[in-house]
Symmetry: none
Subunit: 193 residues, 4 copies
């Protein structure tokens, strides 16, 4: 029962399925067949739409990053002051949607993918740069010229906590994670007073 205009639907289904499979497997050793099956289609169709497994991965990454960026944007829209905006960004990072074992595994594997795929590397760098810009912009009113360095430290803490959760000693704890970064932010601000 083929229908017209299926392409975007199929692509989205594949991208979602890929994220889920990677999250579940914990690595990139997921087969196109597994992905296609979860997305409800044949692996041939998956290849038809993406050309190769790597492109499926890249598209999945791009989608994840776009969703991520949107969440941060939304969070920022509801904040008025620099400090509120900083809090908004940090909270968005540990939003329950993202901060789940599966999502963390997916992110981790994007970094692995970036080791071999230039496209993946570029995507991840863009994301990093954008986050950093955001942090710098909002920290400048708070810490002045120290903003760039301070922003890097905040970004590093966020990533470090993510990485730590990848080990899953206990279930990801959004509240605790957020609190830690808030505290680091406080330290940065206090120090310039």
């Amino acid at each position: 029962m083929p229908k017209l205009g299926m392409e975007p639907i199929r692509r989205k289904a594949l991208v979602t399925a890929t994220a889920a499979e990677i999250g579940q497997a914990g690595n990139l050793d997921v087969t196109v067949s597994q992905i296609a099956k979860r997305a409800g289609m044949s692996s041939a169709l998956a290849h038809h739409y993406f050309g190769s497994k790597e492109q499926i991965f890249i598209a999945t990454m791009r989608h994840t990053l776009v969703v991520y960026a949107a969440e941060i944007r939304d969070a920022l829209a509801m904040a008025d002051t620099p400090i509120e905006r900083m809090h908004a960004i940090i909270q968005a990072c540990f939003e329950s949607t993202n901060f789940r074992t599966e999502t963390i595994a997916t992110w981790l594997n994007f970094y692995v993918l970036a080791q071999t795929s230039d496209q993946a590397k570029r995507l991840l760098r863009i994301y990093h740069k954008r986050l950093h810009s955001n942090l710098v912009f909002n920290m400048r009113p708070l810490v002045g010229d120290r903003a760039p360095d301070a922003a890097s430290r905040i970004a590093a803490i966020i990533d470090g906590i993510y990485l730590h959760e990848a080990l899953g000693a206990q279930l990801p704890n959004s509240k605790a994670a957020t609190a830690q970064v808030f505290r680091a932010l406080d330290l940065e601000i206090e120090s310039v007073k």
Copy 2:
């Protein structure tokens, strides 16, 4: 001409070769043959000594972690005060030996391995716990009861910087990395004054 007592030599050669291959490849998709070849033996022999590919990986991880721990121990031995010891740990983390693109890639992939291998996960957790203990122990004189939380933040920054280097925007910069963590440490200490 097989010799007696080759086992430890072979094992070490394989472990070293594995780290090198993973570092070079950027992921765990390295074949036993590649590893064995680099280690100067047949893949059959590699299996003979380790039983399976996963065990080769695990042994490589263990070795890397042991070396790492030794470096920190050595660094600590030459430091006398808490602050010096903190600095020593941090510097050890970004020692030029470890802080190279290839080593970083290897570490990254240990995290991936930990997603599927319980042994790997256990090893990585032990390392984390030990680092954390070390940090807490040495920070207590500096920040009192805030030591546990502060130690987590410092550990997170260290990992976050590592992860960031995995993207390799520019060559890993030990000095800059060290400076960033030192600064974070300063902030923690200042805040209790």
Copy 3:
């Protein structure tokens, strides 16, 4: 905007595209999609018109053979004596249209197709028979009863030169090829004097 009476146009486009693709590829490993694309339509339509890939090939062969036959017929029409007609046939075989690397590759692959397809084999045999008849008919006045054997030799030389050109040591040289067969023909004629 589908139109009426498109069938012959589409079929011809496909047949032409097929010959071109085979010529370019040098073998029969051309996909229906490639052919259809070159012919400016979807592969589904190609199947609609021909039913199967093999039939597309067969039709291409038939077309090539028909064109070939027409060229010989035209050449013969302008010749008056047996010897002129022989020359006309031979020249037609090495006409620049046919005697190009791509065309030669196409012919070569027709022989391959004939190994598995009875229809292809039949077509090729008909072509052979017709050429042989033509040669015999025109050689009889020249060599008498030796015409059948002599015709076979001439036909063999023609095919052999074609085959040799398939190796493409140098660009096909119509003039040289023609001269060689003319010479063989001379020998046949001389020998009965």
Copy 4:
């Protein structure tokens, strides 16, 4: 039951099996699995020894050509005069070993392979050159300076007859084929008297 020194045995088995499969199929659409099965091993082993399907084909070609060259050499060794040597070469070409439907199909497909594989093309050209040299060398005493051209014609007839047999109108007839080329040779010789 693996044994040592199997490589040459396996390689030869594969080469033989490949020729047989191509001969039987009539084209190059034979799978590595088919070949390996006929050669009594797994397809993985075939890849282990040859690296790729193309290399299996190339090796098969090389082997066929070597055998061919040996047959001609042997035939020449027993001939004393130029005319005897020419006859020996021609007869060797249509020796019952070579002049079978399957072998002819194999040859035909070597030409197809040469359209895409430079290695194959090189092999075939060497064979052609060598045959031509042989013919020229032995024809010079018979036809003088006309030897090069005459040799080309003889070579073309041989190839042409081969190609004609590929159509298999009737079973390959060594005697008739030989007779035809002998006759062509006679004509060349007569013409210089």
